[in-house]
């Protein structure tokens, strides 16, 4: 075997093999790094409760000049709601039920002798769409207390906008929760006094919320326009990265108020970029493989007379293909190992940057990348072996 190897390695061209080695190293590294990057970054865009947790969209119809005159056109027809429910990227659809009665809220403090009143409105959505967990989220007729959820940005607006400029005291969330509002509801020729109590603040829902059971009760009692169509919908999105989301809403003329189809767009861009980079890596790998195959072909061609002679003095084909297959495997294996190292080093670098931007970033681990690398190794090895066997008859 030593003599055979001595004979066969005679014509090995080092520059060719080094050329292949580096080309394959670059290709393999780019390919594996782009995949590793994809595995690491993708969860940031698709995980439910991390960065883009706004997988709830609030939909309204676009207000045009005409539609604002004909108010009936701006509501959602039950068919449209039904169609939304059938879309595979939508998990659930909820309707904003507006109060069909007049609401007046105020604070009065007899001891201080001051008070103020304002007109306002209530809306309700099904409880599963509400991002505030509280036991107080229920209404019972006898108690006369209405739990209310305010958008957090109302409080921010007051604290950081109004209070700041007027040198007025800032209100903490807990303080607001302690205030009892006087609420008067009138409509349908009736009027009733309630106490209003803020039980939480919502990041998701930009409206003044009351429990749905209160709304149903109040609308039947005080409501004047019983068949009003809902004008706002809340939808829970199953896969926020689904590429069709943005285009579907746009075609339908729905406005997505949270302005956050960004995740879907970002994720699509990410996928496109990673695909392009991975494709470039793959192309380089294929080219490198072609170089290797050409080198081996050339080597076999240069050694053909020796190979024929060895076959003729009784050497089995397997014995003669072995050195070449081992050579190819050794080079491929070395490039694979080195590209693993390249990926790990590069991943440490970008992980630092990424985790500075996204604190919740966590590496996906190397398992997938290593597995894909090994699969590539096996595929490349088999292609090489096949070609070598074909050449030595």
């Amino acid at each position: 075997m030593k003599l055979v190897w001595k004979l066969l390695r005679e014509n090995i061209s080092k520059p060719q093999l080094i050329g292949f080695f580096f080309a394959n190293l670059i290709g393999m590294s780019i390919l594996l790094l782009s995949l590793q990057f994809y595995f690491d970054i993708n969860p940031l865009f698709s995980q439910k409760e991390t960065l883009f947790k706004k997988d709830y969209f609030v939909l309204t119809k676009k207000l045009g000049l005409l539609s604002s005159l004909a108010s009936a056109g701006s509501g959602f027809h039950p068919d449209e709601i039904g169609e939304l429910k059938t879309k595979d990227f939508i998990k659930d659809v909820g309707v904003f039920t507006p109060g069909q009665f007049g609401v007046r809220a105020g604070i009065s403090s007899r001891s201080m002798g001051i008070g103020f009143n304002t007109d306002m409105f209530f809306e309700s959505v099904p409880v599963q769409f509400i991002d505030v967990n509280t036991r107080d989220w229920k209404f019972s007729e006898g108690r006369n207390v209405i739990p209310i959820i305010l958008p957090r940005n109302y409080l921010d607006l007051y604290n950081f906008g109004f209070a700041e400029s007027r040198s007025m005291p800032k209100l903490s969330q807990d303080l607001v929760k302690m205030i009892n509002f006087d609420i008067t509801i009138r409509g349908n020729g009736q009027m009733q006094q309630f106490k209003g109590n803020v039980v939480g603040f919502s990041d998701r829902l930009n409206t003044i919320l009351v429990p749905e059971d209160f709304m149903t009760w109040a609308n039947t009692r005080f409501g004047e326009n019983t068949d009003a169509k809902p004008v706002r919908l809340i939808v829970e999105i199953k896969d926020v990265t689904h590429p069709q989301i943005a285009s579907y809403f746009k075609n339908k003329g729905y406005e997505v108020n949270q302005g956050n189809t960004a995740a879907s767009k970002l994720s699509m861009f990410l996928k496109i970029i990673v695909t392009i980079v991975a494709a470039i890596g793959l192309i380089i790998c294929v080219l490198a493989l072609v170089i290797l195959i050409l080198s081996i072909y050339l080597l076999l061609e240069k050694n053909m007379q020796k190979l024929i002679n060895l076959r003729l003095i009784g050497y089995a084909r397997k014995t003669l293909t072995k050195p070449y297959i081992y050579l190819a495997l050794a080079i491929n294996g070395a490039t694979l190992l080195l590209s693993f190292i390249v990926v790990v080093v590069a991943q440490k670098q970008y992980s630092e940057v990424v985790s500075r931007i996204f604190p919740q970033y966590e590496s996906a681990g190397y398992l997938n990348m290593v597995l894909i690398g090994l699969i590539l190794f096996v595929v490349l090895g088999s292609v090489n072996a096949f070609i070598i066997r074909k050449k030595i008859k």
Binding site: L3, V4, K6, L7, L312, I313, G314, A316
Partner: protein, 213 residues
């Protein structure tokens, strides 16, 4: 394997020509233990016959059989076996490896068969007076010297048939005699046949049968 048989064999290049030959288009057979000479002028197909029997050229019509098996149907793996244990061929073009030394050229065959001991190889080379050049690269040696090395290599395996294609074309009478003695001795030990081709100067052994190709 005790028998090589040729039925109506004719190289494709001679097809359509009128051939006067005791081999082509005849049925002849070679038996283990016998000694045969195939003589002819150049260009009559001696080397072709050797390559047909050794199974690396197939451009002929008719049938060649080893122990009754058509050699065209032998699978490659079996050929490896035949070439290691049954059939040894001294190629006219020798097919030595110029980048290896004399000893390495022999070892590369003997490593495969493990048939001769290093001492036996050395004494064979001594007999042919090339033992001093044992570590020289074969590419630098004369054709006559290379022929002798190739003969030694062809003996480094068990065989039932030893085919020598013009073994002494570049050798003087003394060396021819040495080779004749060596191959007959080896063939006798193994109970094998010797088939020699020649274009005039014959390897001086006692032939059982001669064919004019």
């Amino acid at each position: 394997m005790n028998q090589i048989k040729l039925y109506d064999v004719l190289p494709d290049v001679f097809r359509g020509e009128v051939i006067e030959s005791e081999v082509w288009q005849h049925t002849i057979q070679f038996e283990a233990g016998e000694r045969y000479l195939i003589e002819s002028a150049s260009g009559k197909g001696k080397s072709s016959l050797c390559s047909f029997m050794y199974g690396y050229r197939h451009d002929y019509s008719g049938t060649i059989s080893l122990n009754g098996h058509n050699i065209k149907t032998l699978p490659p793996k079996q050929w490896d076996d035949v070439r290691r244990t049954q059939l040894s061929l001294l190629f006219q073009e020798l097919r030595l490896f110029p980048e290896l030394t004399v000893l390495e050229n022999i070892q590369i065959k003997n490593n495969l068969t493990g048939y001769k001991t290093p001492a036996q190889i050395k004494s064979l080379l001594e007999e042919l007076n090339i033992d001093e050049k044992i570590n020289e690269k074969i590419g630098k040696m004369s054709w006559g010297q290379q022929q002798r090395v190739a003969v030694v290599r062809s003996l480094c395996q068990p065989f039932r048939f030893l085919v020598l294609d013009e073994p002494i074309s570049h050798l003087d009478d003394d060396n021819s005699l040495l080779i004749a003695q060596m191959v007959t001795a080896e063939a006798q030990t193994q109970g094998a046949a010797i088939i020699v081709t020649s274009i005039g100067k014959h390897l001086p052994i006692d032939y059982h049968q001669k064919f004019a190709l």
